[in-house]
Amino acid sequence: MTSYKLNTEAAEPAAVECRGLNLKIKKKIILDDISFDIPQGSLTGLLGPNGAGKSSLLRIISGLASPDAGAVQIFGKPAGVKQLGSLSLLPDRSSLPGWLSVKEWLEFACGIYPDWDQAKAQELQQQLSVSGESLISAMSRGEEARLQLLTCLSRKAPLIILDEPFTGVDLISRERIASAVVGELADGARTFLIATHDIREMELLFDRLILIGDGRVRGIEDVEQLRRSGKSVESRYREVFA
């Protein structure tokens, strides 16, 4: 049986290490001195109200944008284009090419991602009930979200970053998505960073929280310790942001 990281060894580098990140857009402060670590194998929730800076932060971590100051390390190496292969990002409000069928899209994805796992894609297609014949433009929001997650998880990348995977997604799709994430977490040594403001869907999955508001870190929590002190993820969120 896998040992599920119960004894954390300090030897391995953090999956994500942010140090003193600052970002300004047109004089507006978007990120203000953001620092935190995400240990390998963790499922961390990045929580905060709309406009807190979550998506900007995720773009910097993914190497798609640069901060004005500060640095990000991914598995001990500076974030940037060279680290794109070690992470798989599900961006907020992304859309897939609507003129393709699911099958055509997956063949295309298989061609562009060097770490694509075809067997995993097939397994997830079944688990997430995504039919290969559907035309992407004819899919519901929930179906497209499941297809996006499928695309994201079918890569072997050790770090998975999901930006609001539940926005506008129906209840059954939400449950399927959550269950697929659990399966992936249990199967291998992947690390998940999930930004969401839908706390209830994911509350039981998180083992760690990073709360950000107005561009600043408002709290870093171990979820087990929160529960030991009689608090839930939701009550802690209210404490910080209400």
Partner: protein, 131 residues
């Protein structure tokens, strides 16, 4: 053998303000003690338990570790995890839960300003009255 029983009731409500593995341990323990999960039953894998309930795999792993520490379940390498067949171990666990129940019962009587015996006595008289 496939599972003819439910490890946890389908409608099991998780309290998100308390450690989840403790709630799982408590519920599964009671189901083993009462025989709802028979001795020798095979338990789902950590992955299936976690995915089925939508909890972190660490929560599921801790649940099994704790039940294993209590001796209520046993893992055989390569075969899976099973409920113990040792009656003595189950009997001991039953006693622990019984003590807890008595304590709660006494506490309830205490809040009414009577003894547990008086509360039981009342129950006897009360049922006689109804008959």
């Amino acid at each position: 053998m496939d599972q003819p029983y439910e490890l946890l009731p389908e409608q099991f409500q998780i309290n998100p303000s308390l450690p989840i593995y403790e709630q799982f341990v408590e519920a599964i323990q009671r189901r083993i003690i009462s025989g709802l999960i028979p001795p020798g039953s095979r338990l789902p894998s950590v992955r299936d338990l976690a995915a089925g309930r939508g909890v972190n795999p660490t929560t599921a792993a801790r649940t099994y570790q704790e039940l294993e520490r209590m001796g209520l379940i046993v893992t055989y390498r390569g075969q899976g995890t099973f409920v113990t067949r040792e009656d003595a171990v189950i009997g001991e666990a039953r006693k622990v839960i019984m003590r807890k129940a008595i304590k709660e019962f006494k506490a309830a009587a205490d809040t009414l300003g009577i003894t547990a015996e008086q509360l039981l006595e009342f129950d006897k008289e009360d049922s006689n009255d109804i008959l």
